[in-house]
């Protein structure tokens, strides 16, 4: 289908006909989607999302035990966003995000051991223990961090897209940021340049409704983030970010839009984080019912699980076997991350300058 040129009323209508969905207001999860996954796609999405879920639960546990220090922001609830996007991307596309980044790293194929060992600050971590939860990178997997300054990754991601255009390759930069970062000035400076220079970048607003403890309604004058690029002529689509199929479909469209030289596009993923902003956030700014409703009615993993069973693509036993496999991977990463030594003292002065 044709992409909307602008996130105008007509543009939104045309997007609505596709697999992506539009909402009258953020958070209206209707659960209707036209795009269907085949068995292999659903099984793949199930595994990938479950890995992130179990990994994050384990990270939370290790934090509680004192193995992980400082800040630790869990991705639980938002798994469909990165998994769906990763399914749409191709080799060479770059990924960059902020500090709620463990899910993105696992989705790009970074090893659970390497990520967990970085969380515990050990030498086997991706940054040899010098980055921590918020600062990890993998050149091999085209993962460009892992950034602790809200909004900075949007300009950096735009720079990755600049490099793609400069080199004349057909790679696309995928830059994730939250509804909180969407109010930072440099985001709009970046939108302007990306639109002006037609840079191949998909801006993904992971709208989980809360910037730390401030709900979107209290923080933003325009809570439809898919419209945030309209002043620059950047099209935007709102997507049910709890449905991995909708994410994949929107990702396909957006990446194609960028690869064919049309410049940037915004995907607003309507999603939800189940846990607090960080481990020390009691999340008193929302009701238990709100969280519970989201978990019971829109859980991204449960949706896939139900489909697999309903369609007879997997038996309970087969799913149990997958669960076990994933628990094993996660346990192994946790064991490794606890047993691995801290970085050698000599690491203090390495990697400052080349």
């Amino acid at each position: 289908m044709a992409l909307p040129n602008l996130a105008s009323a007509s543009g939104r209508k045309s997007a609505a006909k596709s697999a992506t969905k539009l909402f009258s207001r953020a958070g209206d999860f209707t659960g209707k989607n036209s795009l269907e996954f085949g068995k292999e796609e659903d099984l793949h999405a199930y595994r990938e999302m479950l890995l992130i879920r179990r990994f994050e639960e384990k990270a939370g546990q290790l934090y509680g035990m004192g193995f992980i220090g400082g800040f630790c922001h869990l991705y639980i609830g938002q798994e469909a966003v990165v998994v769906g996007m990763q399914m749409a991307q191709k080799e060479g596309d770059q990924v960059i995000t902020a500090y709620r980044d463990h899910g993105h790293m696992l989705a790009t194929g970074m090893s659970a051991r390497g990520v967990m060992a970085e969380l515990t600050g050990r030498q086997g971590g991706y940054s040899r223990g010098k980055g921590g939860s918020m600062h990890m990178f993998s050149k091999e997997k085209n993962f460009y961090g892992g950034h602790g300054i809200v909004g900075a990754q949007v300009s950096l991601g735009t720079g990755l897209a600049f490099a793609n255009k400069y080199r004349g390759n057909d790679s696309v930069s995928v830059a994730y940021f939250g509804d909180g970062a969407a109010n930072q000035g440099q985001v709009y400076e970046s939108f302007n340049m990306a639109a002006l220079w037609k840079l191949p970048i998909v801006y993904i607003v992971e709208n989980n409704r809360y910037a730390m403890g401030t709900s979107t309604s209290r923080a933003t004058a325009q809570s439809n983030y898919s419209l945030r690029g309209s002043g620059f002529g950047i099209p935007g689509i709102q997507v049910d970010g709890m449905d991995v199929r909708a994410v994949k479909a929107a990702g396909d469209e957006a990446l194609e839009h960028c690869r064919t030289g049309n410049g940037p596009i915004i995907l607003e993923m309507l999603t939800y984080r189940y846990r607090g902003h960080s481990m020390s956030d009691p999340a008193k700014y929302r009701s238990k019912d709100e969280v519970q409703k989201m978990r019971s009615e829109h859980d991204p993993i449960e949706q896939v699980r139900k489909r697999l069973l309903d369609k007879g693509w997997s038996s309970e036993d087969e799913l149990k076997a997958i669960d076990k496999d994933i628990r094993d991977v996660v346990s192994d990463s946790a064991d490794f991350a606890q047993a691995d030594p801290e970085p050698d003292a000599s690491e203090l002065y390495t990697d400052i300058l080349l």
């Binding site: 639960e57 960059i96 040899r128 892992g146 300009s155 956030d281």
Partner: protein
């Protein structure tokens, strides 16, 4: 095997908390994500969620218990097929604090976990104080200029332009971006002619959006390009300083050496003339504090050329501080195909035996005039042009001080925490026995730059102050 549920740490600083309420009782079934208890931490009341599925076998700490240490066993969870009978022997738990004395890897890990929560004022263990020595950097000397090399009088402006053009010819990955760098030919004409030679792909006009384009430059550098980001002045780079420091300077370290940012941030820095407080500030001391950055501040055209070429080739982020007043000044530049100077190496501008002056950038103009006057009075000054502020060539300064016993520094920046005070501190620490007088530091005055011509003149250093300072350290 039953799973122990431990008192969790729920903030970076939590060591103990109050178990205020149990939300599940013995015999209750829980699934992952269920809230099982409420805990009051040093910050807030937090919910504890179950990680595993099972049945609560035993609650080991009563609701309302205060000062429960992190990692104390608070409950036991029975997993599928286990019976509570197995738990009859379970005793109320003692706090399990991480042990630092065992030498097994697991116990060492515990110590690591626990250590992160030591309060800041707690003295660290003796073993922790063994900080490895900072590695020494061996620097190359300036390249020899072959006998008979033609020296061409060149302005700093042309030297900078030539450096960029030569490096852009040499490496396809080098490009320049900034406000008015292309069509306008540079706000200060530093990029004159580059658009015509290299085209709009490699000479990129940006909108007025310092924070954004600095970030775009760093992102492009992380992807392997070699951007030269021109700031119309470094005063405007304050909008972008987050990207320079938090993104460009720190990424190599934070990524464990996987990726960094080979980028040059350049433009005029410091006071021009009569442009007032917001357009007249020297940032050399600011950037020089940041590990992961190199900071270059040339005075002569030859240094400007050789060091900018080096900065563009350098795999690290380099802050290259120019000066508007120096742009039009001419100096001899050797006519060589590829004149590259080492970053981090000071240049002895003039040798002398009585007193050492260390300066850099436009500060050199005061020093050069002062030494001519001092010569008339029989004081033979050794003048060192630092050229690079970070890494700082302290060995050259100290060698000189060992010879002269006296030191004066000259710069235009603010006096507190200046480059001069840094040099004075280090010379005091490393060459105390060689000093025959206190080190004096000449800097700008401790005021925002005034607009009025007379006040502006007063706010900047002057030659008389340098002459007087040199006489003072010589006790003359």
């Amino acid at each position: 095997m039953p799973i122990d549920i431990l008192m969790p740490a729920l903030s970076p600083t939590m060591e103990e908390g109050t178990l205020s309420k149990w939300l599940k009782q013995e015999g209750d079934k829980v699934t992952s994500g269920d809230v099982i208890a409420e805990i009051e931490t040093d910050k807030a009341t937090m919910e504890v969620e179950a990680v595993d599925e099972g049945v609560i076998g035993k609650l080991l700490v009563a609701a309302g218990t205060e000062n429960v240490k992190v990692n104390t066993k608070i409950a036991v969870l029975l997993v599928e097929g286990e019976s509570a009978d197995a738990l009859s022997a379970e005793k109320p738990a003692q706090p399990e604090v991480p042990k630092a004395d065992a030498d097994t890897p697991a116990a060492a890990s515990d110590a690591a976990g626990g250590k992160a929560r030591q309060s800041a004022d707690e003295p660290s263990a003796v073993a922790d104080s063994k900080v490895p020595a900072q590695p020494k950097i061996d620097l190359a000397a300036d390249p020899d200029i072959p006998e008979g090399t033609e020296m061409v009088m060149t302005t700093v402006r042309e030297a900078l332009r030539d450096a960029m053009a030569e490096e852009m010819r040499r490496d396809e990955n080098v490009f320049v971006m900034g406000e008015e760098v292309a069509e306008y030919q540079g706000a200060y004409k530093i990029t004159q002619g580059l658009l015509q030679e290299f085209g709009a792909r490699r000479v990129v006009d940006t909108p007025i959006t310092e924070h954004g384009f600095a970030g775009v430059g760093v992102g492009a550098a992380m992807a392997g390009l070699k951007p030269i980001v021109e700031f119309m002045t470094f005063n405007f780079a304050m909008q972008a300083i987050d990207q320079i420091i938090n993104s460009a300077a720190k990424t190599l370290y934070m990524s464990g050496g996987q990726m960094g940012a080979p980028i040059v941030f350049r433009g005029p820095n410091g006071a021009a003339a009569r442009v007032g407080a917001q357009h007249s500030q020297d940032f050399s001391a600011w950037y020089s504090q940041i590990p992961g950055l190199k900071v270059v501040m040339p005075y002569t055209a030859a240094d400007a050329k050789g060091l900018l070429k080096a900065a563009i080739r350098d795999p690290n982020p380099v802050v290259f501080l120019e000066n508007e007043i120096l742009y039009g000044q001419s100096f001899e530049v050797p006519k060589l195909d590829d004149f590259v100077l080492p970053i981090g190496k000071a240049r002895i501008h003039k040798t002398g035996k009585d007193v050492t002056i260390v300066s850099f950038g436009i500060g050199m103009t005061y020093a050069v005039k002062a030494i001519a006057e001092l010569e008339k009075e029989g004081i033979d000054v050794e003048l060192i042009d630092l050229r690079t502020i970070r890494p700082m060539d302290l060995p050259t300064v100290i060698e000189s001080v060992k010879k002269t016993g006296r030191l004066v520094t000259v710069e235009e920046g603010y006096p507190q925490n200046s480059v001069g005070t840094e040099i004075a501190t280090r010379v005091m620490q490393q060459a105390f026995d060689y000093l025959d007088a206190p080190v004096l530091t000449i800097a700008g005055k401790d005021v925002p730059m005034p607009y009025a011509a007379n006040l502006e003149k007063l706010a900047l250093p002057n030659v008389g102050e340098v002459v007087q300072a040199v006489k003072t350290v010589c006790y003359k």
